[in-house]
């Protein structure tokens, strides 16, 4: 038995109980799906994709709803059985990863009730929505891994968006927007670091200061300056680009390779920082700083400098992500433009268990919920949009409540570090 699997008694008991609860939940979902089979009758769901470019010719396909329910219920039943047999060792997150799309397909099919829906827009909407969320979550991960709680992503989004819009408008160069957003974010990160590290302000209070102050000052500047001088809020938009060759692949090209540049940057950043956090010297020290700073401090790691650096980096990433909100096609800055997406990034970071790749996955799920909500309301389907919009918030509560399995954040996040 290797040391990594040595779990102490109480944890084992709790894990087993969690596993049983999950098994019951899964079985319940399986039953629900199977119960829906007869109700679906011979209904057929029809979906289409744009073949080349959005708005061009489309290819449609249909599937029977009842069969989908059956398939989803069957797979879920199998997962429930596996969960019950293997207990805590079962990789249930992977199981959910397999079965959730089936449920989504079944539910959407049932909701459509005969109307045809276009999926290209659904998927590109999902991916583009996920980009700033994933980068924002990454920003939060870096700061929390260093030991500084970060509830100020929302505020950095707002300030990054404003800075990006104004800089891009003034300079007329596309790249100026994201850079200004990142610089503004870095400045805010530095302020947070000074408050939290130098002045030992409670990190939740400091985050509240940033969120409240950012909302106030960006609204103020919008109303007092930008509204009268709209030339300051006419940025160069950074629109989706088609990647040569790959973008010409039928169907897939217009989904995966005709996206906002922010999405590609997000993929690169997530990959890069996953490596940096888990494989490099910087990452080792960063994680030590978040788990037990005294352990690193006593062997000569400068925790204060490390945390300052992480906060500035975290701020820059969040500000960069924020610039997307103003430049990604909305035509400039608007009051309250982040509309809670900073907190959705926080939700993604928790749901993603402080791991950039998982957080990206969470961002995709949240993006899908958002895009589905948009699609359904366009199609006039009778599902209130609030239900899907609440998904990130409800999931986060379920996760922090440990209902479906415990996630463990950095142990020392939130505590100021004092040398000696």
């Amino acid at each position: 038995m290797s040391a990594a699997t040595l779990v102490t008694g109480a944890e084992q008991v709790a894990a087993l109980r969690g596993a049983r609860i999950r098994a019951v939940l899964f079985a319940l979902f399986a039953l629900l799906a199977l119960a829906a089979v007869p109700g679906a009758g011979s209904a057929v769901a029809t979906f289409s994709f744009w073949v080349d470019t959005v708005g061009g010719s489309d290819a449609a396909f249909s599937y029977p709803v009842a069969a989908t329910w059956f398939l989803a219920g069957g797979v879920m039943a199998a997962i429930a059985a596996l969960q019950l047999r293997r207990g805590a060792g079962f990789h249930w997150r992977r199981g959910i990863g397999i079965v959730a799309p089936l449920y989504v397909v079944a539910i959407v099919g049932a909701l459509l009730n005969g109307t045809a829906a276009n999926l290209t827009v659904l998927f590109t909407g999902t991916l583009n929505y996920a980009a700033p969320i994933a980068i924002g979550a990454l920003a939060g991960i870096i700061s929390e891994r260093a030991g500084v709680l970060n509830i100020a992503i929302e505020g950095k989004f707002l300030l990054g968006a404003l800075a990006g819009a104004v800089a891009s408008s003034l300079l007329g160069i596309a790249i100026a927007g994201p850079i200004a957003g990142a610089l503004m974010g870095a400045g805010v990160g530095l302020l947070l670091a000074v408050l939290g590290i130098r002045y030992k302000v409670d990190q939740i209070v400091a985050g509240t200061v940033i969120n409240l102050g950012a909302a106030g000052i960006t609204n103020f500047i919008y109303l007092r300056v930008l509204q009268e001088h709209s030339e300051l809020n006419a940025p160069v938009n950074i629109l989706p680009v088609k990647i040569p060759v790959l973008g010409d692949i039928p169907v897939l090209g217009s989904i995966l390779f005709t996206l906002s540049p922010y999405f590609y940057v997000a993929v690169v950043l997530v990959a890069f920082f996953t490596y940096a956090i888990f494989r490099t010297r910087w990452g080792l020290r960063l994680r030590a700083s978040g788990e037990m700073p005294s352990a690193a401090g006593t062997v000569g790691v400068n925790i204060i400098r490390l945390r300052y650096g992480a906060m500035v980096l975290s701020g820059a990433l969040a500000g960069f992500a924020g610039s997307y909100l103003a430049l990604g096609g909305t035509g400039g800055f608007g009051m309250g433009i982040s509309s809670g997406r900073g907190f959705i990034a926080l939700a993604a970071l928790i749901f993603g268990a402080w791991n950039p790749v998982y957080a990206f996955g969470a961002a995709l799920i949240f993006g899908f919920a958002q895009a589905t909500s948009t699609l359904l309301s366009i199609l006039g389907v009778g599902l209130p949009p609030q239900v899907l919009l609440a998904v990130p918030f409800v999931i986060t509560i379920v996760v922090v409540a440990g209902l479906i399995g415990r996630v463990r954040g950095p142990a020392s996040a939130g505590q100021p570090y004092e040398q000696g």
């Binding site: 709680l149 509830i151 408050l195 002045y199 030992k200 302000v201 409670d202 939740i204 209070v205 400091a206 509240t208 200061v209 940033i210 969120n211 409240l212 102050g213 950012a214 909302a215 106030g216 000052i217 609204n219 103020f220 500047i221 109303l223 007092r224 300056v225 009268e228 001088h229 809670g340 907190f343 926080l346 939700a347 928790i350 209130p384 609030q386 239900v387 919009l389 609440a390 918030f393 409800v394 986060t396 509560i397 922090v400 409540a401 440990g402 209902l403």
Partner: protein, 397 residues
């Protein structure tokens, strides 16, 4: 004499924090004025003079909006008892008091949680759910033709119940699963907003007839909160008295009762509270129920008594302002009331500032953020003003 000195030393930091924040706000007004900025390179002195002029104009409008126009007050005084003139003279100050009512309620709510060591960022959601509860009971009881006093009591109870229920969730999850209340209350704020949006656009019982927007029925047809001034044009109503009564009640509860003692002990040292045989978990849940209940009553009064209709935007960021108020007021009921009166006056005066000088009222949120920052980092104010400050004990900061 010593009591006066104690009071002065308590008030010094909050007062200076607000003052410095207003000064920074003045700088923001100056340097977001494009005319000032344009003049700055070639005529710096003139530009700064112009900027100061703008800031003075803005703040004087703010003060008149908050406390009344001295001319009108003297007019009213000279007129003897002309009710129309008195109404005009007193409207700003009474509106300021009315504005401070929700701030007092939620400020008290946040303070009770702070005292128990809980960072309740969920004032916003609890206030909104209280407003939903109050609106629902107002329509139900008022619609059934029950007498006003009964309806009003029901509205208060409905608000308290909904707010407390909403706050129970994070309290319960903290005790049972160790879930951070910061995260759960943030998320519940958004869920509350979506839920209110959903109810107001799908539930015919409260949704306004022939409206697609998420707005409730006009609530004055069901119940009106009795005014407390002899001049009917002034809107100040019993909610203000109730708010003050709650402040006294909370003060008594925290410092003069066994349960309050348990809450404070749990807030300062959970392990010691357990050791001393106090139910630490039940203290947390009790504190959240009280906190949510008080916030909910504030929401019910605001929607039913003051705005007279419910929409998801009825909160206006009160939950976050309340955090500032609790911090500035040292989580003491008297401090909360005093701070809420100041912030209520600023909010009310901000309207006139916007009208006269086109300075957006949103400046006040920025100023509030600065106030929180200065309170939480006393040495920062000390460095700005070159006076020594030490961190205060017993308040999360």
């Amino acid at each position: 004499m010593t009591r006066l000195r104690a009071l002065l030393s308590t008030v010094r930091l909050p007062a200076l924090s607000i003052l410095v924040a207003l000064l920074v706000g003045a700088l923001v007004i100056m340097f977001t004025d494009l005319e000032v900025l344009a003049a700055l390179p070639h005529d710096p002195i003139g530009a700064i003079g112009m900027g100061i002029g703008r800031a003075v104009a803005a703040y004087s409008a703010l003060l008149r909006g908050a406390f009344g126009n001295p001319e009108r007050i003297s007019e009213a005084l000279n007129s003897g008892g002309d009710p129309a003139l008195w109404a005009r003279a007193l409207r700003p100050i009474t509106e300021s008091l009315l504005r401070s009512v929700p701030l007092i309620f939620v400020g008290l709510a946040v303070s009770v949680a702070f005292r128990t060591g809980i960072f309740n960022i969920g004032g916003e959601g609890q206030f909104l759910m209280g407003a939903v509860g109050g609106t629902t009971t107002a329509i139900a009881f008022g619609g059934a033709g029950l007498p006003a006093p009964i309806t009003i009591l029901a509205v208060v109870a409905g608000g308290a119940l909904f707010g407390a229920a909403w706050a129970f969730i994070p309290g319960f999850l903290k005790v049972r699963a160790g879930a951070s209340e910061v995260i759960t209350t943030i998320m519940l704020n958004y869920i509350a907003s979506l839920l209110a949006f959903f109810l107001l656009s799908n539930w015919d019982f409260i949704q306004r007839e022939d409206h697609t927007q998420p707005i409730s029925k006009a609530l004055e047809t069901y119940v009106t909160m009795p005014g407390i001034l002899p001049i009917p044009e002034l809107r100040l109503n019993i909610s203000f008295i109730v708010a003050l009564a709650f402040a006294a009640l909370v003060s008594w509860f925290l410092f003069r009762t066994t349960k309050g003692f348990e809450l404070r002990a749990a807030g300062l040292n959970l392990a010691a509270a357990r050791y001393a045989g106090m139910g630490a978990g039940s203290s947390i849940i009790l504190a959240m129920l009280i906190s949510g209940g008080i916030a909910g009553i504030g929401g019910a009064f605001e929607a039913v008594g003051t705005v007279k209709q419910l929409s998801p935007s009825v909160t206006g960021g009160v939950g976050f302002t309340a955090i500032a108020i609790a911090l500035v007021g040292g989580s003491r009921p008297a401090g909360v009331v005093a701070t809420a009166l100041v912030f209520g006056a600023l909010r009310n005066g901000g309207a006139l500032m916007g009208l006269e000088t086109r300075i957006p009222i949103d400046l006040l949120f920025f100023i509030q953020a600065l106030v929180i920052m200065f309170i939480a980092a006393p040495s920062l104010v000390g460095q700005i003003l070159r006076v020594p400050f030490r961190r205060r004990k017993g308040v999360p900061a």
